[in-house]
C-alpha cells in the first residue's frame, strides 16, 4: 500500500540521483587545447555542426556547440559572467552587443590579435558592421557573422488594382500610395507601422539625410531631419493609412491584403512563402524608398570570444573559418541566414535568388542602430513612447518631442 509505494518512490529517486551522478561523467573539464565550446542561438546548433565539420577535421579541434534559446540569452550570459565560466565563442545579437561588451567578459580583438587571420580583416565585411562600426568605446570585441535587414514588401496585385504600377520609390510616394490604398474601404489600410519597432523612425531619419547621434557621440533627436521623419510617421497615421491597434499581425495583414505595403525583413518573406504559396507572383520585395537616401536597418549577429577562454588560438581559427566567404555562402545554404562578407553577398548562388539580390543590394546601404546602453529598453523605448503618445493619444507634439530630446540627450555611444 502506501508504505510499499513510498519505498518504491524512494528507490526510484535514489536511482535517479545515481543516474544523474553518472550521466554527465565528471562535468566539464576546462577546454583542453584542442576543444572549443560555441554558443549558437536558437535551433541552429545541428546546422552549425554541419558547417564546421571540415574545420574540426582539418584543425583537429573538437567543437562543442550549445544551442541557447533566443529569449534566454540574458540569463545564460549573466550567470556565465557571475561565475566566470563561459563558452569560448558566443553568438551575439547586435542589439545585445553593447551590454555584453560593457560586461568586460569579451576578448578584445584588436588589429594585432587579428593580424594572422586574413578572413577577419574588417575590409572583408559590409561597411555597416565592419571594424569600428561595431566597436564599443573604440574597442572591437566581435566579428560580424550573419546579417539581417529591412526592405519594402508590396502586394503588387493590390497596388495594380488601385492604379499604382510599381512599388513607391520615395517616401513621399509611399505616403501618397498608402493613402490611396487606405481608401479602398473600412478596415483597409495602405501601410503598417509596428508600434514596437523603434528602428523605423531612425531609418526614416537616416533616409532624410540625418543622424540620430551627434558628433560627440550623444543621442540627438533635435534635428530637422528627425522632425521630417516625425512628419512622415505621424502623417501616415493622420491620413488614416495605418492601423492603430497594437496587436496588428503583419503576416496576416499582408496575406489578407489589409496592409499591402510593409517594411520588414527576410523572415517575413519566408513566412509568406510558407503560409500563402497561392500569392506567388503577386507580391514583391524592393529596396526601401528614398528621400535623401534609402539607408536601411542592419541587424544580425556577430561572434565574440570569451575573455577567459583557454583556447584563444583555436577560437580565432574557428572565427576565421566561418568568416571565409565560401563558408558564409555554405551557411546561407544550410541555415538560411544572410552573410556579412562582401564576397559572399556577391556570390552568384545567392544573387540568383531575386529576393536575396534585393537583400544584398540593401545590405550594402544599411546601418546598425546606435550602440548605446540598452537601446531597446531605454532610448528606443522612449522614442516609441513619445511617437505613440502623439499618434495614439493625441499628445502635444512639440512638448512630447522636447521631453524626448531632454530625456535622451545624455545617452552616449561611448
Amino acid at each position: 500500500m502506501k508504505r510499499n509505494r513510498l519505498a518504491a518512490v524512494s528507490a526510484v529517486a535514489i536511482a535517479g540521483i545515481a543516474l544523474a551522478g553518472c550521466s554527465t561523467g565528471g562535468a566539464d573539464d576546462p577546454a583542453a587545447s584542442g576543444s572549443l565550446t560555441v554558443w549558437v542561438m536558437g535551433d541552429s546548433s545541428e546546422h552549425f555542426d554541419e558547417l564546421i565539420a571540415p574545420f574540426e577535421e582539418s584543425s583537429g579541434i573538437d567543437v562543442e556547440t550549445v544551442a541557447i534559446p533566443w529569449d534566454s540569452i540574458d540569463q545564460k550570459f549573466t550567470t556565465a559572467v557571475a561565475s566566470g565560466n563561459g563558452p569560448d565563442i558566443l553568438q551575439i545579437g547586435i542589439s545585445k552587443l553593447r551590454t555584453f561588451a560593457d560586461s568586460g567578459a569579451l576578448l578584445s580583438l584588436d588589429d594585432a590579435t587579428l593580424a594572422d587571420y586574413p578572413n577577419l580583416a574588417s575590409s572583408n565585411f559590409i561597411d555597416g558592421v565592419a571594424g569600428d562600426a561595431t566597436a564599443i568605446g573604440g574597442e572591437v570585441v566581435s566579428i560580424p557573422w550573419v546579417s539581417d535587414t529591412r526592405v519594402l514588401f508590396t502586394r503588387t496585385d493590390i497596388l495594380a488594382e488601385n492604379g499604382i504600377d510599381a512599388p513607391p520609390a520615395t517616401w513621399d510616394e509611399l505616403r501618397a500610395d498608402a493613402k490611396t490604398l487606405a481608401g479602398r474601404g473600412d478596415g483597409q489600410y495602405g501601410y503598417y507601422i509596428p508600434q514596437w519597432d523603434s528602428a523605423l523612425p531612425v531609418v526614416m531619419t537616416w533616409d532624410q539625410g540625418g543622424e540620430v547621434v551627434n558628433g560627440d557621440g550623444f543621442i540627438d533627436f533635435d534635428t530637422p531631419e528627425f522632425d521630417k521623419a516625425v512628419d512622415l510617421y505621424t502623417g501616415l497615421y493622420a491620413d488614416g493609412s495605418v492601423p492603430t491597434n497594437s496587436d496588428f499581425d503583419q503576416t496576416q495583414g499582408f496575406i489578407s491584403g489589409v496592409a499591402p505595403m510593409l517594411v520588414s525583413g527576410p523572415y517575413l518573406a519566408a513566412a509568406i512563402a510558407d503560409a500563402a504559396p497561392e500569392l506567388d507572383g503577386k507580391w514583391s520585395v524592393s529596396v526601401l524608398p528614398e528621400a535623401a537616401d534609402n539607408t536601411s536597418l542592419l541587424a544580425g549577429s556577430n561572434l565574440g570570444v570569451w575573455g577567459a577562454t583557454k583556447n584563444k588560438d583555436g577560437a580565432l581559427q574557428l572565427l576565421d573559418f566561418v568568416s571565409d566567404p565560401a563558408n558564409q555562402v555554405s551557411w546561407f545554404g544550410i541555415d538560411g541566414q544572410l552573410p556579412t562578407a562582401k564576397a559572399a553577398l556577391a556570390d552568384e548562388t545567392l544573387t540568383a535568388d531575386p529576393l536575396v539580390a534585393v537583400y544584398s543590394e540593401q545590405l550594402a546601404n544599411s546601418r546598425i542602430l546606435p550602440l548605446v546602453p540598452n537601446w531597446d529598453g531605454e532610448t528606443g523605448k522612449a522614442l516609441l513612447d513619445a511617437l505613440n503618445a502623439i499618434v495614439l493619444t493625441g499628445a502635444d507634439r512639440d512638448q512630447t518631442l522636447q521631453a524626448l530630446i531632454d530625456a535622451t540627450s545624455s545617452t552616449s555611444v561611448n
Binding site: K2, L6, A20, T24, A27, D71, T79, G93, T251, A276
Partner: protein, 286 residues
C-alpha cells in the same frame, strides 16, 4: 479505531435517481468546462493546421487539411529522447522533495516548538520574491558546490517550495490530534506515526502534490537552462524554446510543441485525480 460506516436507516431505500439539481448543475458545469477548455481545444487543432490555415481569416476551428508535419519536426529537430530522459529524471528527483515537504508541513502543523511561527513565516517569505532575484545567488551557490552541469544541481533549487509546505501544513492541521496522541500512547515513534498515519490520511493532498510536482518538474525550464553547460542536460521545455526563432515563429509548430508538453501532464492528472477525490470516512472521533 473503527471507522463508522454510513448507516442506512431500515425502510429507507437509497434513491437511485440523480436529483434534478444535480443534472442542472452538471449541465452548467459542462458549459463552463467547454468554455474553459476551449482555448486548449483550439491549441490542439491548431497544432495540426498547415501554416496557411493558421493565418486564415475568417478563423476556423477545424483544420481542412490536417498535418502531423510539425510533430514530426519536433521529434526530428528536438533531441527528443534525451530531453525526455532528463525531464523524467528531474521529475523523479522532485518526488523525493515531496517527502521532505510533507514532513515539514507535518512539523509545522502538529507540533508546537520554539520559533515555529517565525520559521513558518520564512516559508511564506520564499514565495514573495521574483525568481530573477534568486537566480544569481543560487547559481553562485551551486557553482560553489560544484553542482553545475549536473542533474542534481538542476533539481536542487526547486526541490522544496514554500507553496507546497504551506499546502501540506494546512491539510495536515485538520488531522485529528487525538489519533496522533493515541498512537503515541501506544508507543509508536514519531516517524512511524508520520509514515503509518499521517501520510495515508493525507492521500488527497498528496495526490494533488504529486500532480503539482510532476507539472513543475515536467515544465522545468529556467534551472536546466542555466545550470546546464551543454545541451545534453536540456529538458523538453528548453528544447521547445530552442525552436522559437528570433522574430517570426511558426504558430503551428509552437502549438504542436505545447500540445506535446501538455499531454503527459493530463494523463498524470487523470490517473491521480481519483485519489484526490477519494472520499475517506473521517470517523466519529471528530
Amino acid at each position: 479505531m473503527s471507522t463508522t460506516e454510513l448507516r442506512i436507516r431500515p425502510g429507507v431505500r437509497r434513491p437511485r435517481k440523480i436529483s434534478i439539481t444535480t443534472i442542472v448543475i452538471g449541465a452548467l458545469l459542462a458549459v463552463g468546462a467547454f468554455a474553459t477548455a476551449f482555448p486548449f481545444i483550439w491549441m490542439v487543432f491548431a497544432s495540426v493546421k498547415p501554416r496557411s490555415e493558421s493565418v486564415a481569416y475568417p478563423p476556423a476551428l477545424l483544420p481542412q487539411e490536417p498535418t502531423f508535419e510539425y510533430f514530426r519536426q519536433l521529434f526530428v529537430e528536438l533531441d527528443f529522447g534525451r530531453y525526455l530522459v532528463n525531464t523524467l529524471a528531474i521529475v523523479i528527483i522532485s518526488m523525493l522533495g515531496l517527502l521532505l515537504m510533507a514532513a515539514a508541513g507535518y512539523g509545522f502543523a502538529k507540533f508546537r516548538f520554539r520559533g515555529r511561527d517565525a520559521l513558518f513565516f520564512l516559508v511564506l517569505v520564499t514565495m514573495m520574491i521574483p525568481v530573477q532575484v534568486t537566480m544569481i545567488p543560487t547559481y553562485l551557490i551551486l557553482n560553489g558546490m560544484k553542482l553545475t552541469n549536473t542533474l542534481v544541481g538542476i533539481a536542487l533549487p526547486t526541490l522544496v517550495s514554500g507553496f507546497s509546505i504551506f499546502l501540506f501544513r494546512q491539510f495536515m492541521a485538520t488531522i485529528p490530534t487525538e489519533m496522533i496522541e493515541a498512537a503515541r500512547i501506544d508507543g509508536a515513534g514519531e516517524w512511524r506515526i508520520f509514515f503509518r498515519i499521517i501520510l495515508p490520511m493525507s492521500r488527497p493532498i498528496l495526490a494533488v502534490q504529486v500532480v503539482l510536482t510532476f507539472i513543475a518538474g515536467w515544465n522545468s525550464f529556467l534551472w536546466p537552462l542555466i545550470i546546464a553547460n551543454d545541451q545534453r542536460l536540456y529538458t523538453l521545455s528548453v528544447g521547445v524554446a530552442l525552436l522559437n526563432q528570433q522574430i517570426a515563429t511558426n504558430p503551428s509548430l509552437q502549438m504542436a510543441a505545447s500540445t506535446l508538453m501538455v499531454v503527459p501532464i493530463l494523463i498524470v492528472f487523470i490517473v491521480f485525480q481519483r485519489y484526490v477525490v477519494q472520499g475517506f470516512a473521517l470517523s466519529g472521533l471528530k
